[in-house]
């Protein structure tokens, strides 16, 4: 019994300590960010390309098919109530408020988050970060902050592209394949989607961008400097980001309602 209590104590202690260290790390990133944005903007642009542009293919393909599924599901269910013209509105609301930011964040964690974590982790394992420190170059400023900012900037843009391509997918399935009237499809969408819905989606994608990027660079920077350690850090990045994104999604939705 004592051993169990001790294990629980150490687990809680470790969690609190890690959470505190993560917050301090986040504050350091925020503190360095303005300077890096001003003085080393080129580094940030490079990372926006790595995290954003290189994720475009997966985001666009997934967005298209998620939109297509929404078109199919919406049509088959709304047809029971003779409301199949509303499929555009249903797809748009689902994409803009929920699926766009959430699925983009999950895909971002899988594509860009793992790349960030493994890249920084490998730099740690091969002494590249130590070498920078010995060259009097702060690796958090030079390596971590540009990658963090790249992710933060790329994530909302990717979510917007995901939603837009998703609407295209819904249009292709709903209008072109299932015969929903094109005018009704877009008119219902315009009437149903309000500015507040778009704002909610934007806020979510920004929050998810911060969370996914922070967790990726944190896991990479603190990876155990071995092949196994980097692998674990990469896996943890995906798992923890998925959980955190869904928790934040629930919280933001609850506040927005």
């Amino acid at each position: 019994m004592t051993a169990v209590l001790r294990d629980i104590y150490f687990t809680v202690f470790q969690f609190v300590r890690t959470f505190g260290a993560l917050q301090l790390f986040f504050l350091r990133l925020l503190m360095y960010s303005p300077g890096i944005l001003v003085k080393r903007f080129g580094l940030v642009v490079g990372q926006v390309y790595n995290a954003g542009a290189l994720s475009l293919v997966i985001i666009m393909i997934c967005g298209f098919f998620v939109g297509g599924v929404l078109g199919l599901q919406g049509f088959s269910n709304l047809a029971k109530f003779n409301a199949e013209d509303s499929v555009g509105a249903v797809a748009a609301l689902a994409l803009v408020k929920e699926l766009g930011p959430v699925i983009t964040a999950l895909l971002f964690a899988g594509r860009a988050g793992t790349a960030l974590a493994s890249e920084i982790g490998l730099m740690r394992a091969t002494d590249q970060l130590s070498a920078m420190e010995m060259m009097a170059i702060n690796p958090i400023k030079r390596v971590v902050v540009p990658r963090f900012l790249g992710g933060v900037i790329a994530m909302p843009l990717l979510a917007a592209i995901f939603s837009a391509i998703g609407l295209l997918g819904a249009h292709v399935v709903g209008v072109l394949l299932l015969g929903v009237d094109v005018g009704s499809f877009w008119q219902q969408m315009q009437q149903s989607v309000e500015l507040a819905d778009i704002q909610e989606g934007i806020i979510k994608s920004i929050v998810f961008g911060f969370a996914a990027s922070l967790l990726a660079v944190w896991e990479g920077y603190n990876a155990i400097p071995t092949a196994e350690g980097v692998g674990r850090a990469t896996t943890r990045t995906v798992v923890i980001t998925a959980i955190v994104v869904l928790i934040f999604d629930f919280m933001i939705t609850a506040v927005a309602l």
């Binding site: 490998l122 091969t126 002494d127 590249q128 130590s130 070498a131 060259m135 009097a136 170059i137 702060n138």
Partner: protein
Amino acid sequence: MNKEDYFSPILFVRPSFCYAMRALADTGHQGRHPPITMTRDAVSDNLIEIHDLDYSFGARKIYKGLNLTIRRGLVTAFMGPSGTGKTTLLRLITRQLVPDRGVILVNGVDIATLSLTELYRMRQRFGMLFQNGALLTDISVFENVAFPLREHTRLTNRLIRHVVLTKLHAVGLRGAADMMPAQLSGGMARRVALARAMVMDPDFLIYDEPFVGLDPISMGVIVRLVRRMNDALGISSIIVSHDVQEISTVADCSYLISDGKVAASGSPDELNKASSELVRQFMHGMADGPVAFHYNAPDYEEQLLGRDVE
């Protein structure tokens, strides 16, 4: 350029741009850091002093009351059996690690008391060659060597190109400037890392196993390069190596570290003639002696033939 030109003083005398850099630093125009000020201790004989150093890795004690002094202007070697903590000592000296107890003075300053800015300013005067080279893998050889210059100075691209090619030439890899680190052998990577370590013309160069993986020609060149650089630039060098023969030709002073303490110190000749069993075992590579070749293990026969063998 013939072979002897590798050691031409012109490659080692600080290039004029360095004087310009330092002059600019003194007038506050050079870069992001304030000018480096020389303290009173900076002119004393001792570059580094270590007093009563304790350091543990987990439950394992690496150093127990270590005391040693590194004198300015010399090539100092750390030798010792594998796992004795030589690389750890380099990391302690450069404050990549923090000791459990004890004081490390660099230029008379306790490095534990330095702020991050002060520590980075001090490290600008250091150059370190890592065991595996630690080159940045996403940029070319040229950019790796240029990296500290681009980060710390505002030199023109033309000047940076001149300096980088000079340093790469000194390590024999000017022709590899456009290659990526992944295309280099281990020995070549270490030579590029050496060029990068000396590109800022540091006051103090640290080499962690510089001779590992080098072919005999490269090793000979690098050994002479280490010696010539130290003498021509008037810098100080620390070398960690197992290579007793090469160390003997290049080091002014050697420390043999074993069991968390300095087991012996002196010039390579003195160590070669030492009567201590441990020193003789290490210097002459003998299997039998105070340092066991085998790591602690249960009885060999019992382990191979014992009852619990499946």
